[in-house]
């Protein structure tokens, strides 16, 4: 990013917040439903200092991480196998094509039946969403690896384990990263949605609870927390990508 681009990137959210503030103060927006940003900020600070924010964020983040690992690791491994072996691909491709389009939120009730009312159902919901994205992206990543690298691996009799983890995995890593970024997005949606029910902690619970109590202030505070959580995860991921794919640095 150039300095000018960075200036625009910083100015964008500020300008929107200022417009919002203006729209509320001129009564163009109803302050009962759209509190002025200054008030949201004050509420957010109060919410944060009460400790409630930290607890809820920690729970949501914990569910997010566990669900992403449960779904992401097998998704990546199956994606690698699908990319490499046409029989594995022939088997899983139609299954994924059939199951992937089902909205994951729609299977939440089913997951509560299967996994009970505890944490497992919430992890499962996130895992299911992440699994498909990782399998699809990893497979695409493996299939776009230059054939010359597969020739080199064959010519030098590279062992299967080394082939998977030192050729296919790094070769597919740029696509795997794309999959992780998409996964974080869907995982936040599913984590929050799964917290609407059967829990007393988490940002999703905070939003749902605030709605029931008609507490617009706390609703906004929780929404701001979700937004910041997603934003921090996305930027954090960008940083680890630069570290994990050092050979790509020069190409940009």
């Amino acid at each position: 990013m150039t300095r000018a681009e960075r200036a625009v990137a910083i100015a964008a959210p500020i300008s929107i917040v200022l417009l919002w503030q203006l729209a509320v103060s001129t009564r163009f927006l109803n302050p009962g439903l759209f509190p002025p940003p200054s008030e949201i900020a004050a509420n957010f600070v109060a919410y944060a200092s009460s400790g409630e924010l930290a607890t809820n964020t920690a729970w949501t983040l914990g569910r997010l991480i566990i669900g992403c690992l449960i779904g992401g690791i097998p998704g990546t491994l199956i994606g690698l196998a699908m990319g490499m072996n046409r029989w594995v691909r022939a088997y899983f491709q139609p299954v994924i094509a059939l199951l992937y389009p089902i909205p994951k939120i729609a299977i939440l009730p089913l997951l509560y039946f299967i996994f009970g009312t505890g944490e497992a159902a919430k992890w499962a919901a996130i895992a299911v969403g992440v699994f498909f994205l990782m399998a699809i992206n990893t497979e695409a990543g493996v299939r776009q690896i230059e054939p010359i690298y597969l020739d080199v691996a064959r010519a030098y009799r590279i062992r299967p384990a080394s082939f998977y983890f030192r050729v296919l995995l790094p070769g597919a890593l740029p696509n795997i990263y794309a999959g992780i970024k998409l996964s974080i997005g869907i995982a936040i949606v599913l984590a929050v949605a799964s917290e609407f029910q059967l829990t007393r902690v988490g940002l999703g619970f905070a939003i749902f609870n605030a709605q029931q109590l008609l507490d617009v202030d706390r609703l906004y505070a929780a929404l701001v927390a979700v937004s910041l959580l997603g934003c921090i995860l996305a930027y954090g991921l960008d940083l680890t990508e630069r570290w994990a794919i050092p050979w790509r640095r020069e190409r940009k």
Partner: protein, 245 residues
Amino acid sequence: MASITVEHLSKRYPSGTLALSDINLEVGEGEFVSVVGPSGCGKSTLLRIMAELDTPTEGRVRTAGSAADGLPSAVVFQEQSLFPWMRVAENVAFAFDSLGLPKSEVDRRVAKELALVGLSNFANAYPHELSGGMKQRAAVARAFAVDPPVLYMDEPFGALDEQTRVGLAGELMALWERTRKTVVFITHGIEEAVTLADRVVVLSAHPGTVKAVIPIEFPRPRDAVALRGEPKFGEYVVRIWELLR
């Protein structure tokens, strides 16, 4: 050391095109054989079959006398065959993957080979930090490091500029003269073939068949640059040009 016999080898692509037809070829132990031919004559396909990266439709390739342990052969490819996600030394060391040697031994041989091609200072560089010529030097080092009896080279210097090409041909010859591996070297550079090879195999196209085999009777060690001043050099080059016409 090993010798290679290609017997009645034919290759038909899945599309139905006959790429190679009844190729018979002998490569003696420690011999350097270059294969030249017009583009599309199937010379790369021939090399891929010899290196077991592809299968023949008919005929076979026999290799006699390869060592029981170690790789039977190594391949140097056209370009960009170094893994971009591995540093130069890791790329060379990766060739030892299936050999089960102790790490200290692998490190020693990698360092030795990189020194021989003048890349010691680039052991920790990523391939994208190297020039085209340096990348091919690293690929040559990878092939020599595992010390296989047979070396297959598929237009390894084809993508480089003329000056780098001649320089690398000279370096390759020096490496080869120390080790005397059996080498099959595919190229579209006639002068390169004459400079390097003991014998030049000339292929004709559609389908690829052996048109002639020309022994190059220059003494060794050869000097890649001085050789170009020899009257015989020009004669060989012209003769091969005539065959390809």
